[in-house]
């Protein structure tokens, strides 16, 4: 049963990534792109007929951008699924929990204080901020409602997010020199993606992916209940903390390069659960693949809809995700009342 959905998800993702390479603001000849891509395969020698500029568009702009969109989407969706497992809450999401805005504050701090360009500082500060944001939201939710329901945690997350946004605005006022860069970053997007950026966040993404996927089975045990987990010799707290850290690292690796892109972390895991059931052993990898495909498509829209202008990616995801989120909210309400 399990290999089927995984294989089809991989196929969908591959198709989306390929489509992303053929479509863009620049009109590249279909055959030329095909030949240029095939030419990169070992033992294949093809003359694509593309000019130097066209080759650059394909390999220096489009390919890294498509891959970055997939990486960011995969990280956000997988992190969302991880948070949902830890908090046993279908509404937990990097964006709603304060992880994303915490990462934002961390990154802004580095940009403003250190005038740092996108070096190691930004992802690391984003990671610390993300972790801080989640822990803040979680402890606030705990104190607000005894092991609060789904809504309490979300409310706490929203409160934390709003507070952190205020901090962010304050920092921006201090760093008017860097305002342009911070704003561009907040709007969210992968337009600036290149190979160097991919190399910078790739390792973080890989580490968090390995940790999260390894914890799928443990999250399944946790979802049954802490006593059962303890009976199996499992430390519930340790599993939670590990997943929390890994999901925050995934969030940070996405947010550090792409700014704030909402809704991916809640929409994708939800669809996955509907299609393939609620076992985290399958939800986590499918969310990774589905999120990657979803954001690659969203970015395709962002870079072509008003070409040669660009649309911020966060706008596209919010457009799809906003209404969807409301639907999820209503469905989960019904489940609680039933």
């Amino acid at each position: 049963m399990r290999p089927v959905p995984l294989a089809s998800a991989v196929a969908v993702l591959a198709a989306v990534l390929l489509a992303g390479l053929f479509v863009g603001a620049a009109d590249l000849p279909f055959g030329g792109v095909l030949a240029a891509l095939a030419d990169r395969l070992p033992f294949v020698r093809l003359d694509s007929g593309l000019s130097v500029i066209e080759e650059n568009v394909l390999f220096e702009l489009r390919l890294p951008r498509v891959l970055m969109a997939a990486l960011v989407g995969g990280m956000l969706a997988m992190a969302g699924a991880g948070y949902q497992g830890v908090f046993r809450n279908p509404l937990a999401d990097p964006y709603l929990l304060g992880a994303a805005s915490g990462a934002g504050v961390g990154a802004t701090l580095v940009i403003v204080l250190l005038r740092g360009d996108l070096g190691f500082g930004v992802p690391i500060a984003a990671f610390a901020g993300a972790l801080l944001g989640v822990l803040l939201a979680y402890s606030l939710g705990r104190t607000a409602g005894a092991a609060g329901g789904a809504a309490t945690l979300v409310l706490a997350g929203v409160a934390v997010s709003l507070f952190l946004s205020a901090v962010q605005t304050f920092l921006q006022q201090l760093g008017t020199e860097e305002l342009q860069r911070i704003y561009a970053w907040i709007l969210g997007g992968v337009g600036g993606a290149d190979w160097a950026q991919l190399a910078l966040v790739g390792p973080y993404a890989l580490v968090s992916t390995v940790i999260l996927l390894a914890h799928g089975r443990l999250l399944d045990v946790l979802s049954v209940g802490d006593e059962e987990a303890a009976a199996l010799g499992l430390s519930a707290q340790r599993v939670r903390l590990t997943v929390l850290v890994a999901a925050s690292l995934a969030t940070a690796s996405a947010v550090a390069v792409s700014g704030l892109i909402g809704f991916v972390g809640i929409v994708v895991p939800h669809v996955v659960r509907r299609l393939a059931g609620g076992s985290y052993r399958i939800v986590l990898p499918l969310s990774l693949l589905g999120g990657a495909a979803f954001l690659a498509v969203a970015d395709l829209v962002a870079r072509t809809v008003i070409a040669p202008g660009e649309l911020p990616l966060g706008v596209v995801t919010a457009f799809v995700g906003g209404p969807f989120f409301v639907a999820v909210l209503r469905a989960s309400r019904r489940q609680v009342e039933a």
Partner: protein, 305 residues
């Protein structure tokens, strides 16, 4: 706990109302009889100003430059944080982006000049009887000249303003004439390193238009107004002959940094010296230094043609 908090809020509120009631109480409209007045038509209507105002506050870098260029510099008591030119202008922490009425009134100005009405600042100043001249960003060359004329009239320097406009016109015309038409040359004007740019319809776009340069961002006009964010793919595909960087100060861009951007190394402008480093300020203001921008563009056109 709760009543105490409410009481605290009430006290704070009371103090604030009191403070605001006392503030701006300099309302003795002692318009000295006989002292002349001039009326200037600005974006906020007809504004009456005492003749030869002696305490001008400027919240617009462009207008600061103009005031000093027409000989009204000695009448200026404070300018905003971004009024970097001329050096002798009395720069303060005042902001044109988030203007604070009380901070402005603290200078007891008899004229405030600004280019943006942010946070309802114009209304606030009018309420306390301070003459405000709102002269917004020019959308074409004639508007820029008109604003200089307005400032001349408002400050008692009509003749100098007229002379400044005359020399600016002459300088610009001479540059355009000696340069000649740009032929089929295309250009891209960069506002920041996120590829925000201008189309031909904007003020700066019209300046480039004087030379007949073709703007590669014009196709994005309908979708995103005069200041689109240009797709990187589109820029490479268009391969403009000239790249003008108006983000050398804000974002530290120069010919070397753009050459290192993905795919830019093979652009004609990068290979053949068509990347022009502008001064951000000169390229974003519509004041007396406009002829310098025109000259820079003219030189670039001659160089790559």
């Amino acid at each position: 706990m709760r009543p105490v908090r409410a009481l605290g809020a009430a006290i704070v509120f009371g103090v604030m109302t009191l403070a605001s009631a006392c503030g701006g109480g300099g309302g003795e409209e002692a318009s000295a009889e006989g002292a002349g007045k001039v009326t200037v038509q600005a974006a906020n209507g007809a504004v009456t100003i005492p003749e030869k105002p002696g305490k001008i506050v400027s919240l617009s870098p462009t207008h600061t430059e103009t005031l000093f260029a027409i000989g009204a510099g000695s009448q200026v008591v404070a300018v905003d944080e971004y009024s970097t030119h001329p050096r002798s202008a009395p720069r303060t922490k005042l902001s044109g982006f988030s203007p604070n009425a009380e901070a402005i009134i603290g200078y007891e100005p008899d004229l405030v000049v600004l280019s943006d009405d942010m946070n309802g600042i114009v209304k606030a100043l009018e309420k306390v009887g301070v003459p405000v001249l709102l002269e917004p960003a020019a959308t074409n060359l004639d508007e820029a000249y008109d604003e200089i004329t307005d400032l001349g009239k408002a400050t008692g320097h009509d003749a100098e303003a007229a002379e400044l406009v005359r020399t600016m016109r002459a300088d610009i015309e001479r540059t355009v004439e000696t340069t000649g038409k740009a032929g089929e040359l295309t250009y891209y004007h960069e506002l920041d390193n996120q590829l925000h740019t201008v189309t031909s319809k904007t003020f700066v776009g019209q300046v480039y238009g004087l030379f007949g340069l073709r703007n590669i961002a014009d196709e994005a006009e309908d979708a995103s107004g005069g200041y689109p964010q240009l797709s990187r793919e589109h820029l490479l595909e268009q391969n403009p002959d000239l790249v003008f960087l108006a983000d050398t100060k804000c974002c530290g861009q120069n010919a070397e940094t753009v050459a290192e951007r993905p795919g830019w190394g093979d652009l004609e402008a990068v290979r053949d010296g068509g990347v022009v480093e502008l001064d951000d300020d000169i390229a974003s203001r519509w004041g007396p230094r406009l002829p310098e921008l025109v000259k820079t563009i003219g030189d670039a056109v001659r160089k790559v043609r």
